[in-house]
Amino acid sequence: MATATPPSELSPSSVFHARALTKTYGDGDAVVRALAGVDLDCSAGEFVVVLGASGSGKSTLLNLLGGLDTPTSGTLFYRGWDLGRADEAGLTRYRRDAVGFVFQFYNLIPSLTARENVALITEIAADPMAPEEALQLVGLGARMDHFPAQLSGGEQQRVAIARAIAKRPAVLMCDEPTGALDVRTGMAVLEAIERINRDLGTLTLIITHNSVMAGMADRVLTLSDGHITGEKRNATRVAATSLAW
């Protein structure tokens, strides 16, 4: 990987700064270019939706931005810090302090209650909010002492969101957050995400193949074959409650 120095002209609000970001898997004839030279800048408070079909490279982008993987080449900075060249411990530190994840399949710890699932994070984070506060934010103040098996899918996903934001992360990464949910519950989940972005000013990235969510975003990126093939800015954001699919 080329030596990277943080560009001096970065604005203070810049969260991600990526240039020629490339990720390949395998080698020789079997080489797969999952991400083929992506340039991207994201600022604090932005709401970004990344659209793309399966295999377009959107999950790879999320893995790199989320510190779950490192790029093959190109540069990636998080607030001027060279995320692209971070080691294992650095990535763990980054995920612990800066990123909140929300996955399609909730991934709650079944042996912990809603409150404890959130507390898991607040125990290790530097400046967390109270677990109760996080759960209130997602509208689950009344079901805090239930175990995951006692919650519906939508409720579980909202616990996952509470868990992701309780540490006051700089970035909220959501990978198909409504993929496993019906429309009504999906909408409640998106509302929660929207509120976090608005109230806490968290840079929010949603990765989805569902183009309906594009209306919620400040900016919509379209990925195909590892390239950014489209970028659109919405003049006004549509409220989650008005979405329909």
């Binding site: 980054y94 994840f101 399609q104 399949f105 042996s111 404890e116 125990e123 175990f147």
Partner: protein, 788 residues
């Protein structure tokens, strides 16, 4: 190969380390079973063949002196098939290059022909025949080896007060001395005690027994009653100072071999069963997890038309591969350990050829036992899997439901971290599995306590015997009880600081139907060197009349202090009297009866006599003292305390050392296997949870702690239980070992416990770390995106 079998091979490859862990635990059980059962068979066969081929006698007796013509009377007793008379004489030995003398028992070889009974087995050199070989001697192998004696070497012995030089003609074994040690000894001490044979004529001349004998062995005719023959022999020998005949069951060497076989029998069932149960549980855990993971595959196979039997058979084969692996490892291990133990037995038992023979029937039995264990382990999991209708099996299992753990419900949960709560709730959600895991870890801790309890028990006995009771430097015995002035002669020896007399008398003690033959030891009322100690470690003062018995003797005779016991003296004027039991003494080796020496002499009616003396000798004069004793015509045996003590220590170290190694290996394998296996299963079941933790920013170490937290809690709970179990094992095994001849107290020291805890903690920690290394291979994103 069918495709299912191919799948089996690939699945096995994926699970190889877990399969190995199970196979190793199973192998431990099998190794122990194969080793002990084969050793029992080897010992029994070797012993029986040896006894038969070398015509080991069935009844034995010592006497003062009887003319050779009495042999015919003995042979005429109904039920007696063969009689061997001869001379047995205690001697002091002087070995070249060794300052301290050793003690030997010399027996006579017949003037004509071979021994009729207790025939010798020649190891090297040549056998002595007839009367032509003057000045030659045969030596028992154990003593010869310990003292590096070879045919052609010279040895000096004080025979009935006369020092004579002998040439070792041959090294031999005798069925009478498979355990070559003085009667009553728990452990052999081959450096200081040996057995020898020399032609009758020479021995008879030296011991003034020409034309007479003082030792007999008899063989019974088929169907003869041992008790009747013993009674008849006692009758015949009474006028000749007979000390009472006894059968094989009281023969010191025979009982020692018999007791060893008894111990092996105990070990051959209990321990292997426990190990195999742990292995069965581990198989069950591995297979249950495998079947859960393969739920969908099973459903598809069933949807394609495979029968329940075919699918069940497939998973059964899986566990049978583990059984075969375990059996092979166990057999190899059992044979290897068996060979090592046979070497150790060579320290104790001298057979012409004690070889380890693998009892093949035992291996077959072992295979069956472990197969049954494996089948029991796997059958429940397989049955649950094949019972599911295919459509249902293709759906993922419903999410696991949890609830707060008991301690939390009791309101104690507030202080716990989230990860600790996870561990507690996981433990509680699968109580059976947690209990069995804990049980296995407790077992691993427990078995470690056993060998050290043995070591500490023996150490305690030795310290007790030689610091509390016997505080002399040396014990010197006279050829036969002599006048009291012999004591003055002892006191005049160079360097003697203190000499206290002792008088021994062979007696039969009888209380109701119970009787025992032993020697009453007469001592000064409150001796300095040989102290009679009670159970609370206080020295007893021997009263002017009455007996002090060792507690074990009182127990076997069924008597208590305050009661009277009848005493029949088996030597001298053979008086009979009844005396009160005044107190009980505590001791650990043999059984003893004590009396104040004056009181004993009065009852014996032979005047003021002594059999020997306990002496304390100053270190500076030690060599001069020994020279003087060796030259003394009256001293017949010289027992140097520190040499015996050292010898015991060496033997103990060697035998306990081997046991410790074996138990240590087994405990490590169990602790390692169970922790590793549990951690791997836990990793498989909870990889989603663990991946989530990694993604949200837990470090590898923190996630590792979540993975093994549950096991750490179980290990911590298991260890104290293990110590209790270990103490129980030790108590049981010591109880099975304890006899009238040897008693080991249960000594459990903090060091012993600490060792067991440390070994299990280290084994658990290392295997947990190994399992945690798998966390690095966790595909974080893949796991999270997959549907459960």
């Amino acid at each position: 190969m069918s495709l299912l079998d191919l799948k089996l091979l690939r699945d096995l490859r994926a699970l190889k380390s877990q399969a190995l862990a199970v196979a190793l635990v199973m192998a431990c059980g099998l190794a122990m079973m194969i080793m002990t059962r084969s050793l029992i068979a080897s010992l029994e066969n070797t012993r029986d063949t040896y006894y038969r081929e070398n015509r080991f006698a069935e009844i034995f007796a010592r006497l003062k002196r009887a003319p050779n013509s009495v042999a015919a009377q003995l042979a005429a007793i109904p039920g007696v098939a063969a009689v061997q008379t001869g001379i047995a004489l205690q001697v002091t030995l002087d070995l070249p290059g060794v300052i301290e003398p050793a003690t030997g028992l010399v027996q006579s070889l017949p003037e004509q022909g071979e021994l009729v009974l207790n025939r010798l087995h020649l190891r090297s050199g040549r056998i002595l025949l007839g009367r032509e070989s003057m000045g030659e001697i045969l030596a028992g192998e154990a003593f010869a080896e310990a003292n590096n004696l070879h045919p052609g070497d010279r040895i000096a012995a004080v025979l009935y007060g006369r020092r004579q030089n002998f040439r070792v003609a041959g090294i031999v074994l005798s069925p009478e001395f498979v355990f070559e040690a003085p009667p009553g000894a728990a452990l052999p001490n081959n450096k200081t005690y040996g057995v020898f044979w020399m032609p009758y004529k020479e021995l008879a001349t030296a011991s003034n027994l020409d034309g007479a004998f003082n030792n007999i062995s008899l063989r019974l005719a088929p169907g003869a009653s041992e008790a009747e023959v013993i009674a008849a022999v006692d009758q015949v020998l009474r006028p000749y100072g007979g000390r009472g005949a006894y059968g094989r069951e009281s023969h010191p060497s025979h009982t020692r071999v018999r007791d060893e076989i008894k111990i092996l029998q105990g070990l051959s069932i209990g321990f292997p069963l426990v190990f195999l149960s742990v292995a069965a549980f581990m198989t069950n855990a591995v297979m249950s997890r495998q079947i859960t993971l393969q739920r969908e595959q099973i459903a598809i196979l069933k949807a394609f038309g495979f029968s329940n039997w075919e699918i069940g058979g497939h998973y059964l084969k899986f566990s049978l591969v583990i059984v075969v692996g375990g059996t092979v490892l166990g057999t190899v291990g059992g044979v290897a350990l068996g060979h090592r133990l046979v070497e150790m037995y060579h320290l104790f038992f001298r057979f012409p050829a004690l070889e380890f023979h693998l009892a093949t029937s035992v291996v077959v039995m072992a295979i069956i036992v472990s197969m049954v264990a494996a089948i029991i382990g796997v059958v429940g999991a397989v049955r649950a899997a094949v019972r599911l209708p295919p459509a249902e099996a293709m759906r993922p299992e419903p999410p696991s439901s949890y609830r707060p753990a008991l301690v939390e419900r009791l309101g104690l949960g507030r202080a716990f971290t989230a990860t600790f709560r996870m561990a507690l709730r996981n433990i509680e959600r699968r109580p059976a599995r947690s209990l069995l895991t804990m049980g296995a870890l407790a077992l691993a801790t427990g078995i470690l306590v056993v060998p050290n309890a043995f070591r500490d028990g023996i150490g305690h006995v030795l310290d007790y015997q030689w610091d509390m009771i016997q505080r002399q430097t040396v014990f010197v015995a006279l050829i036969e009880p002599g006048p009291a002035r012999a004591l003055a002669d002892f006191r005049a020896l160079p360097g003697v600081v203190l000499a206290e007399p002792v008088r021994g008398a062979a007696v039969e003690l009888r209380a109701g139907n119970h009787f025992r033959r032993l020697t009453i030891t007469g001592l000064p009322a409150r001796a300095e060197l040989y102290r009679v100690i009670d159970a609370s470690d206080r020295q007893l003062t021997l009263p002017a009349q009455g007996l002090v018995l060792s507690a074990k003797l009182a127990e076997v005779l069924g008597v208590k202090p305050g009661e009277a016991i009848s005493v029949r003296v088996l030597e001298g004027k053979r008086p009979q009297f009844t005396v009160p039991i005044v107190a009980l003494a505590e001791d650990f080796a043999g059984t003893a009866a004590y009396m104040e020496i004056g009181a004993l002499n009065r009852l014996l009616g032979e005047g003021d006599r002594v059999s020997g003396a306990y002496m304390s000798v100053s270190a500076g004069e030690w060599v001069n003292f020994l020279e003087a004793v060796k030259a003394s015509p009256r001293a017949v045996s010289v027992v140097v305390k520190n040499r015996i003590r050292e010898g015991f220590r060496e033997t103990t170290a060697q035998s306990i050392g081997l046991l410790q190694q074996i138990y240590l290996t087994f405990a490590t394998v169990v602790a390692f296997g169970i922790v590793y296996n549990s951690a791997r299963i836990s990793l498989s079941e909870r990889q989603r949870e663990l991946a989530t933790l990694r993604v949200i920013g837990f470090t590898r170490g923190e996630v590792g702690a979540v993975l093994v937290g549950e096991l750490a809690v179980l290990t911590l709970l298991a260890m104290p239980c293990g110590l209790v179990i270990g103490a129980g094992f030790a108590r049981l095994i010591l109880a099975s070992v304890n006899t009238e001849f040897v008693r080991l107290p249960l000594i459990l020291t903090p060091a012993n416990y600490a060792f067991a805890v440390l070994v299990v903690a280290v084994a658990s920690l290392v295997s947990a770390l190994l399992a945690c290394r798998r966390l690095d291979q966790l595909d974080l994103v893949g796991v999270l995106k997959a549907r459960d």
